[in-house]
């Protein structure tokens, strides 16, 4: 094997320029794919982290049927105290859960005494909410990064449109379950940066204030947002929780709860899927580049060395050895190109990371700094694909070489 490798490398150095061009092509392909995967992957992960970490959580639990009518924020679809108690009992026993936050969601009127407009609000326990969606605090652009009773966190656009500032008193008016209307004064405690996605333009109040506005006699919950310890296991955990809650039925004998992961709640999931799809196409392009360039080089190598093939066959080299020799050449091209591509690609990703050059705007969020990262598993997979394709690309020319009749090859001019 070592000798076959030596001969393969020597043969590659025989045509230095051609080898250099082919290796460069493969290396550039690898660099572009790594660059694309790292940037698009980091973008995707950053946005997912924003969505799950500042608004919706990793998954949510609702009363069965709530999500279908979520745009109306129906109060009559809230979880009753008994159901909430059951749910919390189950959630408290699951070690995978980092934190969870019960929310009361409702729509109301927001008045500055001068102007009035609509607003969607989340009544939350601030401590639980900040643990469940830790990036929420980073969205508070003005005011304290906290939520106290009697205060409201207003979404930026609404605050600006209504000319509401920190410390201003405003009124929230909402219709409660029995149809009566109630109002409560709040102090503007903070301004929230708007974010794309469900809940991205909602305001926040303390859950006890929400109960007061809605004149709830006892605590009813619209949803429970859950954050798990290992985000990568969100789908598996969603299924597990769904399985655990499927046994809980209401008085009609139907399931009492429904569980949705962030993928089912956020439209960004479709963009994430599109990014994944584009990554596959980029990888297919890389495969084509490697396949065509190596096949081209190897076909040329076989045609240029027909007499040499005849000589080695005449002196007793078995066809399988000739096959191995040419495959080894293609393999070496692939390996060298992959190694160079990985080294340069990793260096570029590192430079992009420390320089902070890659910034972008996502909806209302401006100047997000991307930190491109690449999973070593991804690098290994790409390298394995390139090396495998190199062998496949060499196979046809190598078979041709191994099947040559020595006498015809020796006569070749």
């Amino acid at each position: 094997m070592g000798n076959l490798f030596k001969i393969a490398v020597r043969n590659l150095f025989r045509y230095k320029r051609r080898t250099l061009l082919t290796v460069s092509l493969i290396a550039m392909g690898v660099i572009f794919v790594l660059g694309y995967i790292s940037i698009s992957g980091s973008f995707k992960n950053m946005i997912i982290a924003q969505i799950t970490g500042s608004m919706i959580g990793d998954l949510q639990v609702h009363r069965k049927g709530y999500v279908a009518s979520i745009e109306n924020l129906p109060l009559n679809m809230n979880l009753k105290p008994q159901a909430v108690k059951k749910l919390e009992g189950i959630l408290n026993q699951l070690p995978e859960i980092e934190a969870y936050s019960p929310r009361v969601k409702f729509g109301g009127m927001f008045s500055t005494f001068v102007e009035t407009t609509n607003i969607r609000l989340n009544g939350v326990y601030p401590e639980k909410e900040f643990k469940t969606v830790p990036l929420l605090a980073s969205r508070i652009t003005e005011g304290q990064k906290a939520l106290n009773k009697g205060e409201i966190l207003l979404p930026e656009l609404l605050a600006r449109g209504m000319k509401a500032k920190i410390g201003d008193m405003i009124v929230i008016v909402a219709t409660n379950q029995d149809g009566s209307v109630n109002g409560k004064q709040f102090k503007v405690g903070g301004i929230l940066e708007s974010a794309t996605g469900p809940g991205g333009r909602d305001g926040y109040v303390h859950i006890e204030d929400a109960m007061e506005v809605l004149r709830m006699g006892e605590m009813e919950i619209s949803e429970v947002a859950v954050r798990i310890k290992h985000f990568g296991k969100v789908e598996a955990f969603t299924q597990k929780l769904d399985g655990l809650l499927s046994g809980e039925v209401n008085k009609q004998g139907k399931p009492a709860f429904e569980v949705h992961s962030w993928q089912q709640l956020s439209p960004f999931y479709n963009i994430a899927r599109m990014i994944d799809m584009m990554t596959i196409f980029i990888q297919l392009m890389l495969i084509s580049v490697v396949l065509i360039s190596i096949m081209n080089v190897m076909i040329m190598a076989v045609y240029e060395r027909i007499r040499e093939i005849g000589t080695i066959a005449a002196i007793g080299t078995l066809p399988t050895k000739i096959l191995s020799m040419f495959i080894m050449e293609g393999l070496c091209l692939g390996v060298i190109g992959t190694v160079i591509g990985n080294v340069i690609g990793a260096a570029i990703i590192f430079i992009l990371n420390i320089s902070g050059w890659v910034t972008f705007d996502f909806s209302r969020q401006k100047g997000l700094v991307l930190s491109p990262t690449i999973d070593p598993v991804n690098m290994l997979v790409i390298s394995a694909i390139v090396i495998f394709v190199s062998v496949i690309a060499s196979l046809q020319p190598a078979l041709k070489a191994s099947r040559m009749e020595p006498i015809k090859a020796l006569r070749h001019v």
């Binding site: 040499e308 005849g310 002196i315 007793g316 078995l318 066809p319 050895k321 020595p406």
Partner: protein
């Protein structure tokens, strides 16, 4: 993989050809390159096939070298009926029993002199490293190329290349060395040197040498000379006497 061994009678000879015929082309347009050629070659012989271009010398050497198969007749090389060998067995047989010297030297350009000679031991015979080095150095010294061992083929002269080719042919200790016009691309002085070298190797190693040539000066160096004309064996000369074929 077992090779097919011919009858005992063949074992006394390195090569036995019986009415060997070789045709080329299609059934409608047949070119008969060899016609009913019969001969025997004993071990450690120094044999030459001579004749003008197109007389069938190269075809005959290709048949003996298992690079091609006769259309008709019987051919036994080193006790093996070569007609019965398949492609893989032929390659193995060549590697085990035969050495080749080519008119154009056919050295592998990316390997040094040493590596070219070592090649059959590594790729064909899988000889252990220590044994390999010993054998390569022995033949390198025998052909007078030990001081050039690290050079590449494009750094040595034609005569030196052919010396390397002789060394490569001999390094695996074959029973038979076939040389097709080994001196055609060399000047007379170098050609004689190469023939002398081949003879010396034959004497030292008792290897049978069969070469083809149309160079009359070189022909005289052979001990047995078979003459070919239009694909037929027309004459056999044994040094010191003449015998019609």
């Amino acid at each position: 993989m077992g090779l097919i061994v011919a009858e005992n009678i063949s074992k006394n000879y390195q090569v036995v050809a019986t009415k060997v015929t070789k045709d080329y082309g299609t059934t409608e347009n047949v070119v008969r390159a060899l016609r009913d050629v019969s001969f025997e070659i004993e071990p450690a012989s120094f044999v030459s096939f001579v004749g003008p271009s197109g007389s069938g010398k190269t075809t005959l050497l290709n048949l003996i070298g298992c690079l091609d198969k006769p259309t008709d007749g019987k051919l036994t090389v080193v006790g093996t009926d070569v007609l019965k060998l398949d492609r893989h067995e032929s390659a193995q047989f060549r590697g085990d029993n035969l050495g080749f010297i080519f008119q154009d030297f056919n050295l592998i350009p990316v390997l040094t002199v040493y590596e070219n000679i070592e090649y059959p031991l590594i790729i064909v015979k899988n000889t252990p490293a220590g044994e390999r080095r010993k054998r390569v150095m022995t033949v390198l010294e025998a052909v007078g190329m030990a001081d050039q061992k690290d050079k590449y083929p494009d750094q040595i002269s034609g005569g030196q290349k052919q010396r390397v080719a002789v060394a490569r042919a001999l390094v695996s200790d074959p029973k038979l060395v076939l040389a097709d016009e080994p001196t055609a691309n060399l000047d007379s002085k170098t050609a004689y040197t190469i023939i002398d070298l081949m003879k010396k190797m034959r004497n030292e190693r008792k290897t049978t040498f069969i070469f083809s040539t149309h160079d009359q000066k070189i022909v005289g160096e052979a001990e047995i000379i078979y003459s070919l004309a239009d694909g037929e064996l027309v004459d056999k000369q044994v040094k010191g006497g003449k015998q019609n074929g």
